[in-house]
Amino acid sequence: MNFKDKRYIVLFLSPTVILLFAFLLYPLIQSVYYSFTDWYNFSNEKTFIGLDNYRQLVQDPVVGIALRNTLILTVGAIVLQAGGGLALALLTDSVKRGFKFFRTVYFFPIVISGTAIGLMFSIIYNYDYGLLNAIMRAFGLPEQVWLTEHSSIYLVLFPILWQYVGFYFVIFLTGISKIPEDIYESAQLDGITGIQKAFKITIPLLRDVIASCLTLATAGALKVFDVVYIVTKGGPMNSSELLSTYMYDKAFNGQNAGYASTIVIAMMLLGILITVLLNKAVKKDTISY
């Protein structure tokens, strides 16, 4: 490339780079600084307190609950969201009629906003007016309190997973459609069953797609906020608290932005750690066919 071309590249990349720096990198560096300060009420005073916020973070029981919940969410996302998407794609692919119908139905929840889904489920789980208790009443069963401190994270997991299963479903479906027909034909001549076809041919050939979907699912699970906050606000007695909801609560309800910045740094480090581990786990040679 000669110098003239490079000039245009720089020119067209610069707006994005400037925006990225101004709204992502610079605030991140500032957050690292704020995490070492006592900063209340978004005031002008920020007193440097060294590692006190981090000490509080380590001793905070709510952070422990949040980490446990994040783990549950990540495992749920990998197994049920990506895994569920894969299972649905395999099933839909083998269906002869109604292929387009299933594809639309499974993809549909993605276009609904997370806030709307949250509101809908908070009404479904409501004790007096909710749908679940109405069904219980219709069958003559006693009404239940659905959101308890033991069940809240699992009940909140359901709408989160349901919303994005369709996304992975569509990705896998596309991946499956790229596999050449002749592999299946030659396997059929050898007398292969449906399940063997799925496990011995389709899944191994989809390894790249599975790897990228796992990364996406994990990243998605780490940044969930809206559905959890709307349904439980962190749940009965902090039981469905995530790092993101706890950070929001500390920053805006508690007006303690210093400690909230510490939580942000913790979130970031956790995300990097999980992503690095995941990349190591799925790193294999690429497949070509």
């Binding site: 005031s43 004790y127 007096d128 959101l147 606000k233 749940g235 007695m237 902090n238 309800n253």
Partner: protein
């Protein structure tokens, strides 16, 4: 090569022309507005200079006074064509208004006129040294000053200075459904015994005794005030509050609250009460407007708890007031002052009063005030004393932690002493 160069030059020049045209179009209309208003301004009694006032209030979103506010702003602009109001009002929920004003204060970018919280929030505004103290203006205009209730003016002073002009007050009271009480032959909940009898009777009859979310502070405030009175309430998180907090656990054990109170939000709790599924609700005057159409709903002060000191005490206050920014520009200052005087005039205040609340200024009765609203105002007038809620003089972090702790307490996961100690620790840390 030649053709490619010229076509690229043409595309670039077309884009530039479109961009320039867009910018000029915008400028053009501004110029026209300025020209028109300056000619109009010259003929009005004001100085004729185009003044832009930024106003940041809480009248936004689902606030009940939004329409009264926007009408008042429009009629002010119609009467004063040289003044434009830039409405920066932000809703109070999710702490949006607090965050906005605090960020504005920190960056030296406060609006000209604010309708914002009193109490601990005044400190933050006062520290900017940019807000006016109203004593001088009140002294200059005694007629305007006389429309304010002197006792209330006194209550909202900060460090003995009048930084905020009180306006709309709120009160919190025990709303109860007379129809449900009569149906179960219960007397009005004016004593603690009658209150507890009602709780037990309703719980046994599948009616929710008290509609409340355990994430909102209202009934907790009522119990604490009833137990320790105004003096005790000022001692943040004092161990003397423990009996009141233990009452919360007691009520929760007796199924006084909705079963999912820990994840219920305030709107749903209000819906339970207005829908007749709950018999009582301790909430604020802002909910009275929605309930006023049902003649069965009554309001009363919270009963005195056993060995309590807060008899006939109301949680009430003038939690917000009008602030004004200092300004060297005379025209700007005069415009802001005339706007505040307009908003606090009896006619405009009367329009706000028709929506609800209790007022620190004289209001012209619009003749449409519902009986429940009148009853609420009576309750405040007959109260022995009124105090601001706890959150107006403690740090927000300790307060949110305290409320969360009460949720744990209601389900027996923490003791009252633990909750108070933790909140006190946070409060001390926030002060120091």
């Amino acid at each position: 090569m030649q053709i490619r160069k010229t076509s690229r030059k043409m595309t670039v020049s077309l884009l530039l022309v479109a961009l320039a045209g867009g910018l000029l179009a915008g400028c053009g209309s501004n110029n026209k507005d300025n020209a028109a208003s300056s000619t109009q301004g010259a003929s009005s009694s004001n100085s004729g200079k185009q003044v832009k006032l930024r106003a940041a209030t809480s009248f936004a979103g689902s606030d009940p006074w939004v329409s009264a506010w926007t009408d008042a702003v429009q009629s002010f602009q119609a009467a004063n064509p040289n003044i434009t109001i830039v409405d920066e009002s932000t809703p109070v929920n999710q702490e949006a208004l607090r965050t906005k004003v605090k960020a504005d204060a920190a960056t030296g970018n406060l609006a000209d006129v604010l309708f914002y919280f009193n109490g601990s929030e005044t400190k933050i505004l006062q520290e900017t040294n940019e807000i006016v103290s109203w004593e001088d203006e009140l002294a200059k205009d005694p007629e305007w000053a006389s429309t304010f209730n002197a006792a209330i003016l006194d209550k909202v002073k900060y460090e003995d200075k009048q930084y905020s002009l009180p306006y709309i007050g709120f009160y919190e009271g025990l709303f109860w459904n007379k129809e449900l009480f009569d149906k179960h032959q219960l007397e009005a909940p004016s004593t603690f015994d009658a209150f507890m009898k009602a709780v037990d009777t309703f719980a046994a009859n599948d009616i929710i005794p008290i509609a409340t979310s355990l994430t909102t502070p209202y009934i907790q405030e009522a119990l604490v005030l009833s137990q320790v009175g105004p003096e005790g309430q000022k001692l943040a998180y004092d161990p003397s509050w423990a009996p009141a907090l233990n009452l919360i656990k007691d009520l929760s054990d007796r199924n006084a609250f909705p079963r999912d109170a820990l994840t219920l939000d305030d709107d749903k709790a209000q819906a339970l009460f207005s829908g007749g599924k709950a018999a009582m609700m301790f909430n604020g005057s802002w909910t009275a407007v929605g309930l006023s159409s049902n003649p069965a709903i009554q309001i009363a002060p919270f009963p005195l708890v056993p060995s309590g000191k807060g008899e006939n005490m109301i949680v009430s206050g003038f939690g917000s007031g009008w602030y004004m920014k200092k300004n060297d520009d005379q025209a700007q200052y005069a415009a802001a002052l005339s706007f505040v005087k307009y908003m606090t005039s009896p006619e405009v205040a009367g329009k706000f009063a028709a929506v609800g609340g209790t007022y620190a200024v004289k209001t012209t009765d619009m003749g449409t005030t519902a009986p429940l609203l009148k009853a609420g105002n009576e309750m405040v007038a007959q109260a022995k004393d009124f105090v601001m809620p706890i959150d107006s003089f403690v740090s927000r972090e300790s307060y949110t932690d305290f409320l969360k702790g009460l949720g744990y307490l209601a389900y027996g996961k923490k003791t009252a002493e633990e909750v108070l100690a933790q909140a006190k620790k946070l409060s001390d840390r926030n002060q120091g």
